[in-house]
Subunit: 306 residues, 6 copies
Amino acid sequence: MTNDSDMTKRTIKELSEYGSYGDLYLSHKGGEPLPSGIVLKEIVTLVRAIIFPGYFGDPMVNKNTIQYHIGVNIDNLQTLLTEQILAGICYSKRNCEICQDNNENRHKAKEIATKFIAYLPELRRLLGTDVEAAYNGDPAAESYEEIIFCYPAIRAISNYRMAHKLQELGVPLIPRMITEMAHSETGIDIHPGAVIGEYFTIDHGTGVVIGQTAIIGKNVKLYQGVTLGAKSFPLDEDGKPIKGIPRHPILEDNVIIYSNATILGRITIGEGASIGGNIWVTKNVPKGAKVIQNRTKEVSVITDDK
Amino acid sequence: MTNDSDMTKRTIKELSEYGSYGDLYLSHKGGEPLPSGIVLKEIVTLVRAIIFPGYFGDPMVNKNTIQYHIGVNIDNLQTLLTEQILAGICYSKRNCEICQDNNENRHKAKEIATKFIAYLPELRRLLGTDVEAAYNGDPAAESYEEIIFCYPAIRAISNYRMAHKLQELGVPLIPRMITEMAHSETGIDIHPGAVIGEYFTIDHGTGVVIGQTAIIGKNVKLYQGVTLGAKSFPLDEDGKPIKGIPRHPILEDNVIIYSNATILGRITIGEGASIGGNIWVTKNVPKGAKVIQNRTKEVSVITDDK
Amino acid sequence: MTNDSDMTKRTIKELSEYGSYGDLYLSHKGGEPLPSGIVLKEIVTLVRAIIFPGYFGDPMVNKNTIQYHIGVNIDNLQTLLTEQILAGICYSKRNCEICQDNNENRHKAKEIATKFIAYLPELRRLLGTDVEAAYNGDPAAESYEEIIFCYPAIRAISNYRMAHKLQELGVPLIPRMITEMAHSETGIDIHPGAVIGEYFTIDHGTGVVIGQTAIIGKNVKLYQGVTLGAKSFPLDEDGKPIKGIPRHPILEDNVIIYSNATILGRITIGEGASIGGNIWVTKNVPKGAKVIQNRTKEVSVITDDK
Amino acid sequence: MTNDSDMTKRTIKELSEYGSYGDLYLSHKGGEPLPSGIVLKEIVTLVRAIIFPGYFGDPMVNKNTIQYHIGVNIDNLQTLLTEQILAGICYSKRNCEICQDNNENRHKAKEIATKFIAYLPELRRLLGTDVEAAYNGDPAAESYEEIIFCYPAIRAISNYRMAHKLQELGVPLIPRMITEMAHSETGIDIHPGAVIGEYFTIDHGTGVVIGQTAIIGKNVKLYQGVTLGAKSFPLDEDGKPIKGIPRHPILEDNVIIYSNATILGRITIGEGASIGGNIWVTKNVPKGAKVIQNRTKEVSVITDDK
Amino acid sequence: MTNDSDMTKRTIKELSEYGSYGDLYLSHKGGEPLPSGIVLKEIVTLVRAIIFPGYFGDPMVNKNTIQYHIGVNIDNLQTLLTEQILAGICYSKRNCEICQDNNENRHKAKEIATKFIAYLPELRRLLGTDVEAAYNGDPAAESYEEIIFCYPAIRAISNYRMAHKLQELGVPLIPRMITEMAHSETGIDIHPGAVIGEYFTIDHGTGVVIGQTAIIGKNVKLYQGVTLGAKSFPLDEDGKPIKGIPRHPILEDNVIIYSNATILGRITIGEGASIGGNIWVTKNVPKGAKVIQNRTKEVSVITDDK
Amino acid sequence: MTNDSDMTKRTIKELSEYGSYGDLYLSHKGGEPLPSGIVLKEIVTLVRAIIFPGYFGDPMVNKNTIQYHIGVNIDNLQTLLTEQILAGICYSKRNCEICQDNNENRHKAKEIATKFIAYLPELRRLLGTDVEAAYNGDPAAESYEEIIFCYPAIRAISNYRMAHKLQELGVPLIPRMITEMAHSETGIDIHPGAVIGEYFTIDHGTGVVIGQTAIIGKNVKLYQGVTLGAKSFPLDEDGKPIKGIPRHPILEDNVIIYSNATILGRITIGEGASIGGNIWVTKNVPKGAKVIQNRTKEVSVITDDK
C-alpha cells in the first residue's frame, strides 16, 4: 500500500504544477467566481415563470395574486441576473485585479439587468407568436397548454430569445451557456448570435443546428435535424479561423425546411420557399421555390423474389 | 436608481395585465394545480422499479423481500398516479369550477390508476421482449444488465409504453409529458399515440421521430435519426391543420430501417422489408424489399492527385 | 373499492412471482449493490474538477491552494472509484456468493483505481489537445473558457476518455454507464471501446455515433449527425450476433467528416480525406480524397411561377 | 440465514396484525394525510418572513419590493395553511368517510386561514412589544436585530402567539404541533391554550413551562426554568384526569419570576409582584410583594480549614 | 496578501502534524467509517414508522397495505442497522487491521440486527404502555394522536428503549448516540444503561437527567427538570473515576417525582412514594411516603407596603 | 370568495406599510444581506472538521491525506468566514450606503478571518483539555471518542470558544448567533463574552446559563441547570439597563457547581470551592468551601401510615 500511496502523492504533485494545468486552469485574478450554471438555470426558470404564469413557477397564481408573483420573480431576477452579468463582465476582463468590487462594473451589470427586465413584455409577445405558430403547424398539438408545457421547441426558443437579448446587451459568455442548456435538454442548438423573427417554430427538433450568423425571417418552420451551417470559413495568416464573418444562411419569411436538410453558407432561401427533407443546399433558392429530391433516380428497390 | 426602480415597477405592472399575458397564462378555475413534471418523474421511476426489480428502486431487493417492495411501490404509485390523473382530467375541463373536489372526477382518476396498475404485468412482459430484441440485435451488447441499465432505447420505449397505455385509458396531457421526458433524456421522440408491437428496438436512437398515427408491427428495428413522419396534412377552412387524420407510416413485422432514413406519409413498409440509411421514402414498399441508394451515381470522389 | 383493492393485491402477487420477473430481475447474490449512476456522476464531476481546476469543482481554487484541492479530490476519487469498480467486478461475477467482502476483489478494485489516478496527468494532456482543436476549428469559439465551460463535445470526449481508460483496465459495465451519461446530456454516443487519437473535436455534436471498434487518428473533426457504424454483423449458429468482431471504420489522421454523413463497415478513410455532409460511405476512401454529392443531378428546384 | 429470514418474516407478520398495532396505528378513514410537521415548519417560516421582513425570508426585500414579497408569502400561506387546517379538521373527525373532499370542511378550512391572515397585523404589533420588552429587560442585548435574529424567547413566543390564535379559531392538533416545534428548538414549553398579554419576555428560557390554563398579564418577565404548572388535577370516576379545568396560575401585569421558580395551582400572583429564583409557590401572592428565600437559615458553608 | 497566505500555510502545516492532533484524531485503521449520525437518524425514523404506522413514515398506509410497508421498512432497517452495528463493533476494536471486511464481525452485526428486529413487537407493546400512561397522567392531553405526534417524552422514551435494547445486545457507541439525539431534540437525557419499566411517562421533560445505573419500576412519572443522579463516585489510584459502579437511584413502582427535584445516589424511593418539586433527596424514602418542602419556614414575603 | 380576497388584499397592503413594520423590518442600506445562519452552520462544521479530524467532516481522512483535507477546509473557511464577517461589519454600520463593496471593510473582514484561522491550533489545544476534563469527570464516559462524538458539552463549548475568539476580534452579531445555535442543540446557553479557562466541562448540561461578564478559571465543572447570572442591573436615566457592567460571578480554578444551583451577581467563588445542587448563592464563597443545603430542617417526609 505504501507504493500506491507514494504514487498517488506524486500524481497529486504533478497535477498541481503549473506546467501540467497551464491553459486548462481558470485563473480568477480577484478571487471571483465565474458565472454559475446552477444560477443561470434558476434565472431561466424565473423568466419562464414570468412569461408563462401558471405554467412554470408557482402553479396557484391567479388574477388576484399575479402582480405579487411577478413582482417577486422580477425582484429575484434582478438580483441574480446582476450578479451573473457581473461575473460575466469580470470573466471577460481577466487581466483586472479586483473586478466584482469595482463600482463601474457593478453599475454596468445592474443597468444591463434592468434593460433585460424592461424587455420582458416584448419577449412574452414574441414567444406568444412562437406558441401560436407551433399550434397552427402541428396537427398533433391538442392545445396551447400542451405546447407550452411539453414542446422542446418552445424551451429551446425561449432560451435562445433570452440569450440573444443578453448578447445584444453586450453580456459575455452567459448567452452561450443559456443556449447550451437548451441544447442539452432538447438537442436543438441555436447560437445566441443568430437573428430570428416572430412566429418561429421547430417540429420535434432533435439535431437542429442554427449557426452564429444565420438570419431567419418571420413565420419560418424547421423540422428535426435541419442544419443552417457554414460551408467553410477563411483562415488567418496563422491558419486560425477568422471570427465574426457572416457565413450562415439567410431564410426569408414563410420558409419551411423539412427534416434533416442541410443548408450551408451565406446563401438566401427566398420568401415562401420550401426545402425537402435530407437535402443538401449550398446555393441561393429563389422566392417561392420548392426544392425536392429526384427520388426515382436515386433509389433502388430490390424485391424479395429477385 | 429611482428611474430604474420606476421602470421596473412599470414592467411589473405591464406584465401583470391581462392584455399582456392573455393566452399564455394558465387559468386554474378551481385553484387546482396542473400535472407536475416532478411527480411524473417519480411515477416513471416507480414503474421502472416495479418492472425491473434490482435495477431501479431499492437495489437490495431479493426474493424474500420482493413482495414487500413491489407492494409499497404499487401503493405509492396508486396514490401519486391518481392525483396526477385527476390533475390531468381537471386541466382538460378548464371550464369547470371545482374539479378536483368533484367526487366523480376523483373516482374516475382512481379507476384509471387501478387499471393502469393491473396492466403492469403485461407491461413487464412487453418490455422483456424489447430487452431481448436489443440484446439479439446489437453485437456490442454484453448482457441484459447493460441493456436495462444503460440503453437509451429501453428508457424511451418504457416511457412510451406507459404513456401509450395511459392515453388508451383516456388520460389527457400526461402521456405527452411522459414521452417528452424520454425525448429530452434520449433524443428519441415517440408520440404516445403511436402503436408499437413487441420485440421493438432502436439502436443509439438520437434523432428518432415516431409520429402520432404510426403503426409498427412486431420485431421491428430502427437506427438513430430515423423519422416516421407525415408528408403533409390537410387544413380546415380556417387554414388550421385538421387533427387526428392517419398520416404516418405503417411498418409491418420484421422491418428494419437504417440510420437517418426518412419515411413519410400513410404508406406501408411491407413485412420483412429493409430501408437503407439516409433514404427518403414516400411510397409503399413491398414485403421483403430492400431499398438502398444508388451510390455510384450520386457521389463524386475527388482524389488528391487530381 | 374492495374489488379494486383485491385486484391490486393480485397484481402485486403476480409481479412478485419469479415467472413474471425472470430475467428482468437483477439478482445480487451476496446482497451487494450494482454500480450506482449517482456515484458515477460524482466521479465524473471529481475528474472534471481535477482536470480543469477553476472551471469545475471549487471555483475559488488558486495557485496557493490548488494542491490541497487536488489532494482532496483525488482522495475522494480513490474512495468512490474503488467502491464502484468493486461493484462492477462483483456484478460481472454474478455466480459468486460473497464478492465485495472478498479481499482479492477489493484489492483488485483498489489497484485499478490507483492506476486510473496515475493516468490523470495524461488524461489532462489529451483533453488539452481536444480543447485546442475545438478552438482552432470553430470561428464561433471566442475563448478556451467558452469551450471548456459550454461545449458539449468536450463533455462527451471527457467522459469517453475516462471510460476508455477504465475499459482498458478491465472494469466491466461502468465505462458504458459513463459514456451513456454523456450521450444523454449531449446527444453524442461514443462507445468506450473506440480508439481515438489526440486533437479530436466534434462540432455541435447531436446525433453523432461512434461504434465499439472504430479507430480514429489524430486531429480528426466530426460534425453533428455523423455515424461511424457497422454495415452488418455476422450471426452465430443460433442466429445471435457474434460479439467483438471489428466492424466499424478506421479514420486516419486529419480526416474531416461533415454533418449527417454515414460511414459504415470496417473501411478506411485515408489520411487527410474529407467526406461531405449527408453522404453514405461504405467503401475505402483514399488518402486526401474529397467525397461530395453530385448535387445537380439529384435535386429539382420547382419555382413558384411554374 | 434461512432461519434469520424466517424469523424476520414472522416479525413482519406479527407487526402487521391488528392485535399488535391497535391504538398505535392512525387510521385515515378517507385515505387522507395528517397535518405535516414539515409543512407546518414552512408555515411558521412564512409567518416569520411576513412579520419580520428582511430578517427571515428573502433578505433582499426593500421598500420598493416589500409589497410583492408580502403578497406572495401571504398567497403561499393561504394555500398551505388551508390544506393543513383541513387535515387537522379531518383528523378530529376520524369517523367520517371522505373528509377532505367534503366541501363544507374545505370551506371552513379556507375561512379559518383567511381569518388567521387578517390577524397578522395585530400579531406583528404584539411581537413588536415582545421585542421591545426583551431589549429593555436585558443589558446583554445590543440591538433589536440581535433579539429578532438570535433570541430563543422571540422564536418561542412567535410560535405560541400563532398557535394560540389558531386554537382560538378552533383548529385541532396543529397549535400543539407548532408550540412543540418551538419547545424542541428552545426548551421553552408554552401550551397554546395559555393567555399571554403584550410586552412579554423570557430570558434564556431553557426549561420554562407555561401550562394550558395559565393567564399572564402585560409586561411580565420570566427567567429560565420557571414553571407555571398545575398543583394537582381532579380525576373522574374512572380515575382519568378531568380535562379543561383551570389549574394553572394567573400572573397579573408587571410580574417578574426569577430562574427555576415553580408556581403551582390556580393561584394569583398580584400586579407588580416578584418571585425569587428556585422558589416553590402554591399560594396567592399579594400585589407588589417580593417573595424571596430565607437563605441564611438554609445553607451551610463548610470552609476548608474546618 | 503574501503574508496572510504564508501564515495560513503555516497554520495548515501545524494543524496537519501529529503533535497537534494527537488524541483528537480518530484513526480508522482499516479506512473504515464510524457510525454515522445521519444514518442513525434514518434508523430511528424507520423504527418509529414501524412502531406507530400512519403517524411516521408513509402517512397513507392502511390495513390492506400495512404488511408491505412494514416489510420494506424492516428490510431497510436490517440493511442500515447491520452496517451501523458493524461500524460500532469496528470502532470498539480500533487495533484491528481490516474489520469491516472481516466475516466474523459482519456475521455478528447481522445477528444483532436480526435480534433487534425480533424485539420490535415487544418494543411496540412497551411504548404503547408509555402512551397510555402519558394520556392518563395529563389533563391537557386530548388524544393518543396528540401524544404520539407531539409529546417530547414519547420521542425521548422511544429513543431510550431502542438504545437500551441495542446496549443489551452488546452494541458499542451507537446506543449513546441515539439517546443524545433525543436529548438534543427534547432536553431529556436518559442514559441507555438505565433500566425503566412499562407505563413510564415524563411531563414537559426539559432538563430531566436519568443516570447510567438508575433503575425505574412500572408506572413511574417524572416532571421536567428531575435529576436521577450520582452523589459522588469513587476514584481509582490514578484519581480517575471507577467506571460501572451502581451510583444512581432506584425508583420502585408507582413513584412520582415533581418538577426540578434532585434524587442523588444509590438510594431507593419506595413503592408509591412521591417527591415534591425542587427537593434535594440523598437518602432512602420509604414506601408510600410524600416528601415535601417546609415552605413556611423557608420563604419571606415582603409586601409592598412594608 | 370576493370578500375574502378583498380582505386579504387589504391585509397585504397594511402589512406592506411602513407604519406597520417600522422597527421590525431590517433595512439593508446597500441591499446587502445579513449574516446567514445556514452559512454559519457550515462554518462551525468546518471548524469542527479541522479540530477533530476523522470525527467530523470527511471520515476517511488519514495521515497521508490529512494535509489536503485541512488545506481545503481552511481555504473554504477563509472564504465563507470573510463573507460572513463582512456581513456582520456591514450590519453594524447600518447607516453606510455601500458597505460590502467597500474595500476597507472587505480588507478588515479578510484580516479578521486570517487571524481566526491562525488561532485554530490554540483552539484545538484548548478543546483537547476540555475533552480530557470530561473524560476524567464522568464515570459513564467510555472513551474520548464517545465524548467528542456525543457529548453536548463539547458541542456547546466548541461553539463558545469559536464565538469568544470572534468577539475578541471585534466581529459583531455573529458570535451570539454561533452560541445560540449550540443553545438550541444542547440547552446550554453560554454568552460569547464570558471568559472560560482550560479543562472546562459541563455534565448533561440542559439549562446551564453562563452570563456575559462571567469569568471562569481552569478545571471548573458545572452540572445541568446551573445558572451563573446577574442579581440585578442598574438602569440609566431613561429606565433602560446600562450595558456592559460586570454583573456575573467569578469562579476561580477547580470549582465544582452541582445541578440546578444558581450563582448570582459579581461575586467570587474561591479556588476549589464546591456548591451543592439546587442552592442559591449571592455572596462570595471562600477558597475551598463546601456550600450545602441544611436538608433536615427543610424537608418533611410524610409516611403512608400517617
